[in-house]
Each structure stands twice: as C-alpha cells, then as structure tokens.
Symmetry: C2
Subunit: 203 residues, 2 copies
C-alpha cells in the first residue's frame, strides 16, 4: 500500500508501506497507477440458493466486459456472479478495474456449470442477440424469484444446447448490429431489479 | 481501403486500394487493425425538432464512454446525439470503435448548448448519480415525447445551474459507488425506448 499524503493509515490493514514513485511504477500494472495499492485475500463464494438472483458469465472472454457485468449486477442487487470454465479470471487486474471494485462486494462463484446453477434451484434465463422464434422480449418475461441471468461468449453467444429455461432478447430499433454483452447485462440486471422491487400479486 | 481476400470491391466506394501489411500498420491507429480501413466524409446534423428524442453528451471526456453512449442511444432509437463544447470529438477513432459504427447511423450535432436543445423544443431530462431531493427514480418519470436525455461529465456531472426540466436518477442497491455514465446512458436510453413504444393514453 502506498499513500502519497501524510494521512493516517486506514483501518483494517495489517501492514501499510509508503512506496517511492520508482518502486510504485514497477509494482503497479498500469502506466499511470492510482496512488494506492492493496494486497487482498481472494475470497470465493458458493451458490447460496434462496438468496435472490444471480448472473452467470458463460465463457466471457473480455476483462472489460466481465468487469462491467460484475459492476452492473452488483449495483442492481445480484447476490452472486457465477463464472463458468472459460470465463476470464474475475480477479484479473483489468476485470477488477472495470468492476470499479464491485468484485469485492458480491460473491464470486468460479468454475460452475450451467447444470450446477440449475441444480442450485435457479431458473435459467438465457440471453441472445439473434431473437428468433424462441426468444421473448425481455420486458414480457417474468424475471422474479430465483433466476439466473446467463450471458454468453462475445463471439459465439450461448450454446444452443445450453440448459436454458427461457430465452430473452433486447429488441433494438437502430441500424447497428447489436448491443455488446456488457451493455445487455446492464440493461437486463436493472430490468430484474425493477421486477424484484415491484410488489408481487397478493402483497 | 484494404482487402485481404480476392472478394470484389464493395459498392458505394469511389476508390479501393489494396495495402501491404507494412503500409497498413503505418496508417492504422491500432496495433492489430481490422483488415479494412475507409476514408469517409464527416457529416454533421442539426437539431430536427419533431423527430423523436435525443441524447445530449455534456462535456463527456472519455472516448470509450462517448462511443458506448452513442451505440446504446442509436440502438434504442434516438434521433440525434448532441455534443456540447468540451465533449470529446465524436469522430475520434476510439469513439468510432467504441460506438461499433453507430456514429455513422445517427445524426451527430456538435457544439450545441443546453439552451439550444431546449429552444429546439425538447424537454431536458438531467441525470444525476447523487439522488437528492430533486431527482426522481427514472422509472417514475414520464419519458415520452420530445425529450433530451442529458448526461454529464464523468467527474463533475451536470452543473447544478444547468437548464434542466426534470432530474432523474437510477437507484441501485449495491455497495459500489455508482454506475458510470455510459452504463447510465444505456439503461436510460432503453427506458426511454420502452416508454416511446408503449401506447399513450387514448391510443
């Protein structure tokens, strides 16, 4: 840890060191680092059925996309981010930066399969940019309860054989090809939050 | 323009050149460029009142953020993207790439002021991450008709004296500080699209 002022050491850290600029530039992974670094324990979570909704990143390759997915899911209130094998490491420095630290505020489950998530009691909502017969407008789908929003690989999407309970898509009126997976994750996470906040029938 | 196959020249281009790799690497602005380049005319638009809704980027500094804002606004059906003085150039190569080409599919209005937009007949919807007394949950605000969604600078937001008709915020339940401006623009653009598609009273 490096502090460039004479501020007192923050609470909760065992050891605090002041680093010279040349040391800082060697240990930091960016060219113009923020003036503080921390070594933190990597904590992983397990699926915890019965505690809300989760987002599943299925073979997401780009660190910026995964970081944004984590950031928006955490902000929208997801209880877990689940990574399948083939997804970039959630603790990759670029993911951590893109998540704006949200990766430390939400449970990360690694190396899970879609079958694990389903067996955990979640209804799997698969996303596709292709629309097609199976996919419904996300605004017409019931996103309440124990659901898992499944986002697929940037180039290939989800496998058509994935064990998905319901497919959703985001209709768009522009001429561009499609939204990217991070933007889709953001829109859908907040759509889920809205449905979870709304009173359910009988309440 | 460079083509690395023997495919025929695409329609609509006056002149097509095949470039060697070493030439390509000198003229391209990225280290591993896509195998095609184009020189295109920079076309600007003017505000066109009566043609839907617009997004205003007020002193947005980061090219990636502006590109994402343009991409999601275009996908959601905005008719114009309006840039105030101090916003990064919409035709900056990083903006073009982040927009995934959407910048060529929607009218870009440069160097406008918020007053210009209001005088154009738009109701200005200002976004803030601070909530506060004035800002309403975006899901409770009427976003139909000729509205301008105004997104502010990454560090400073919109000026509190900006001529805003209605302030909106995106409530979030996570522990992270806030969504970034590109994510907020994406969520709000699609919220506007949803309200514009819904039948209005009397229809």
């Amino acid at each position: 840890m490096y502090l460039d002022t004479d501020a007192r050491w923050p609470d909760g850290f065992d050891e605090v060191y002041r680093l010279g600029e040349s040391v800082m530039s060697r240990v930091a992974s960016t060219e113009t680092p923020q003036p503080i670094l921390a070594i933190v324990e990597r904590r992983l979570a397990t699926l915890a059925p019965g505690t809300g909704w989760v987002v599943v990143a299925d073979r997401i390759a780009d660190p910026g996309n995964l970081g944004t997915i984590i950031r928006s899911a955490e902000a929208a209130g997801a209880s877990r981010i689940v990574l399948t094998a083939g997804t970039v490491d959630a603790f990759n420095p670029k993911v951590i930066r893109a998540s704006a630290g949200a990766v430390f505020h939400v449970g990360i489950v690694e190396d899970a399969t879609l079958e694990d998530v389903r067996e955990g009691g979640y209804r799997l909502i698969g996303t596709t940019s292709h629309g097609g017969l199976r996919a419904q407008d996300y605004r017409q789908v019931d996103l309440r309860g124990a659901i898992a929003l499944v986002l697929g690989n940037e180039a290939h999407g989800l496998e058509s054989t994935a064990p998905i309970d319901e497919w959703v898509t985001i209709p768009h009126s522009g001429r561009s090809e499609s939204l990217n997976v991070a933007m889709a994750g953001t829109i859908l996470s907040f759509a889920i939050a809205t449905q979870h906040e709304a009173p359910t029938a009988g309440e």
